[in-house]
């Protein structure tokens, strides 16, 4: 038997909640970032492929919510900071070793592009919109001329953004649950999947919805595979990783994760989407809503469980 006690009191998450340093802000920020990355990825992709006509929502409508998502996400990050008056320090340094740093910079690339993207498509929402000044027309023309270049930049940076939401966690070797490089691809897939779900929700065209349902099924499949793969990796690893996985395999996060994220947030919507493709009548809203809910919950659970996992000594 081994018993370890801290006799003098210390800032420890088990004893003292202060060390549970990340609350709702970070998972929300990661969810919104991933969702925006997903939407922008599809917008850029179909622009590059020249398929704007077939995917009007993905290219022209859905990106309208991305500036909002990104700004709200950044605001959540800001609220999370304890030393808010020094927020600007984040943008006076670039530290490639620190995901928090290059992630914040990635957002500084993606957010302006998302605004430009909306400005270019503003007539879709307000058909009688006029740019009041000549230079705005010039700018509009400039970005239109370089639309494909901009789409490529957006495509790459949306992928980086999606990855980053996972890498932010996986860079911490102190939290064994997060310390797996699968988290990057996993969160990217989840972000793309929630992006596809948001497009389905907004789309008015049946064909586009079916196309994205197909994409979503594929993404969900990859995501489920990565999740299983992650736990297999943990169980084949060291004791700290086995115990980290234990949080989900019998531990306190078992039900929330396997029931709400894995079953209701992934498996069930995938089945609904398959049924829809098979021409069964299912209200098309249910599957994407569940995917979005699952994505949000997934990030909360990983953020909280990660902070409960630790090295043993």
């Amino acid at each position: 038997m081994r018993e370890e006690i801290i006799t003098s009191g210390r800032m420890n998450p088990m004893i003292d909640p202060q060390l549970h340093i990340w609350h709702w802000h970070i998972p929300l920020y990661l969810f919104l970032g991933g969702l925006a990355a997903g939407i922008l990825f599809f917008a850029a992709l179909y622009t590059i492929l020249g398929k704007e006509k077939e995917n009007p929502t993905a290219v022209k409508i859905a990106p309208f919510i991305t500036p909002i998502l990104l700004v709200v996400g950044l605001f959540a990050l800001f609220l999370d900071l304890n030393h808010q008056a020094y927020f600007w320090r984040l943008y006076t340094t670039i530290r490639l070793e620190s995901p928090m740093s290059w992630g914040a910079w990635t957002l500084m690339v993606v957010t302006p592009i998302s605004f430009i993207w909306c400005a270019l498509n503003i007539k879709e929402i307000f058909p009688r919109w006029e740019w009041k000044f000549k230079f705005l027309y010039d700018l509009d023309a400039f970005f239109r001329k370089h639309l494909i270049t901009m789409s490529w930049i957006l495509l790459i940076f949306s992928l980086i953004l999606g990855m980053y939401t996972g890498i932010l966690f996986s860079a911490f070797n102190a939290r064994p649950l997060w310390n797996t490089s699968i988290l990057g691809p996993l969160f990217l897939t989840s972000g793309l999947s929630t992006g596809a779900a948001a497009i389905i929700l907004m789309s008015k065209s049946h064909e586009e919805r079916l196309r994205f349902a197909r994409i979503d099924i594929m993404l969900i499949g990859i995501e489920m595979f990565l999740i299983v793969h992650m736990f297999m990796g943990f169980l084949a690893s060291t004791q700290v990783h086995i115990e980290a996985a234990g949080l989900f395999l019998g531990g306190p996060y078992t039900t929330p994760f396997w029931l709400f994220v894995f079953t209701l947030g992934l498996a069930f919507p995938a089945i609904l989407e398959v049924l829809e493709l098979r021409k069964f009548k299912v209200p098309y809203m249910i599957a994407p809503m569940l995917v979005l809910m699952g994505g949000l919950l997934f990030r909360f659970i990983i953020a909280y469980a990660g902070q409960a996992s630790r090295w043993l000594y």
């Binding site: 038997m1 081994r2 018993e3 370890e4 006690i5 801290i6 006799t7 003098s8 009191g9 210390r10 800032m11 420890n12 998450p13 202060q18 060390l19 340093i21 990340w22 990050l77 999370d80 900071l81 304890n82 030393h83 808010q84 008056a85 020094y86 927020f87 320090r89 984040l90 006076t92 340094t93 530290r95 070793e97 620190s98 995901p99 928090m100 740093s101 914040a104 860079a171 911490f172 070797n173 102190a174 939290r175 060291t238 990660g306 902070q307 630790r310 090295w311 000594y313």
Partner: protein, 178 residues
């Protein structure tokens, strides 16, 4: 220069004097601490073994907190000590999440705080850190690992020691004599 500290787990009685000395010396806000005492009991009664450790930031040579800090507020300073620049820190908590020893805490003023080895206030003036100098059993040794005559080098030559979770790859500079 590589500052390090050795704590004798055979001599430490867990009186918490080091904790209080640090709180006083460094004006640590009430309710927080930069060092703490861990008591480990191993075995089944009556065969019990006990180990008492005074723990603090390990001033790691490969510090994850420095690596994760987005602003460079957490940095390596003189003698390899790991310090936080108050007015560069945005309080994002990345370093707290990245420390395997949970050695950091958010100061109520917003920035992140932790043990400094009393670098500026004592060590640079030729004194030992407050915790070392106050210990009633004299169980702590401080000094420069590169100087073979420093107390910490001397004791590490004589005694068996361990570091905490070396497998985390942090190369800690806090040694425990066993």
């Amino acid at each position: 220069m590589r500052y390090a500290m050795a704590v004798d787990t055979k001599k430490c009685v867990g009186c918490s004097d080091c904790v209080v000395a640090c709180q006083t010396e460094n004006n640590v806000p009430i309710g927080y601490c930069r060092d703490w005492i861990v008591e480990v009991t191993d075995g089944t009664y009556p065969q019990l073994e006990i180990e008492i450790r005074s723990e603090r930031c390990n001033h790691c040579e490969n510090a994850p907190c420095v690596r994760c800090c987005p602003t460079g507020a957490s940095h390596y300073s003189d003698g390899g000590t790991v310090l936080v620049k108050k007015y560069h820190c945005i309080g994002c908590g990345a370093c707290i999440a990245s420390c395997p020893y949970d050695a950091r805490f958010p100061h109520p003023d917003g920035y992140v705080d932790k043990c400094t080895f009393c670098l500026d206030n004592r060590v640079k003036k030729g004194m030992d850190p407050a915790c070392v100098s106050v210990c009633p059993t004299k169980c702590m040794y401080f000094g420069d690992l590169d100087d073979p005559r420093s107390p910490v080098s001397q004791i590490l030559k004589k005694r068996k020691y361990k570091t905490l979770i070396p497998e985390a790859g942090t190369k800690p500079h806090l040694y425990f004599l066993i």
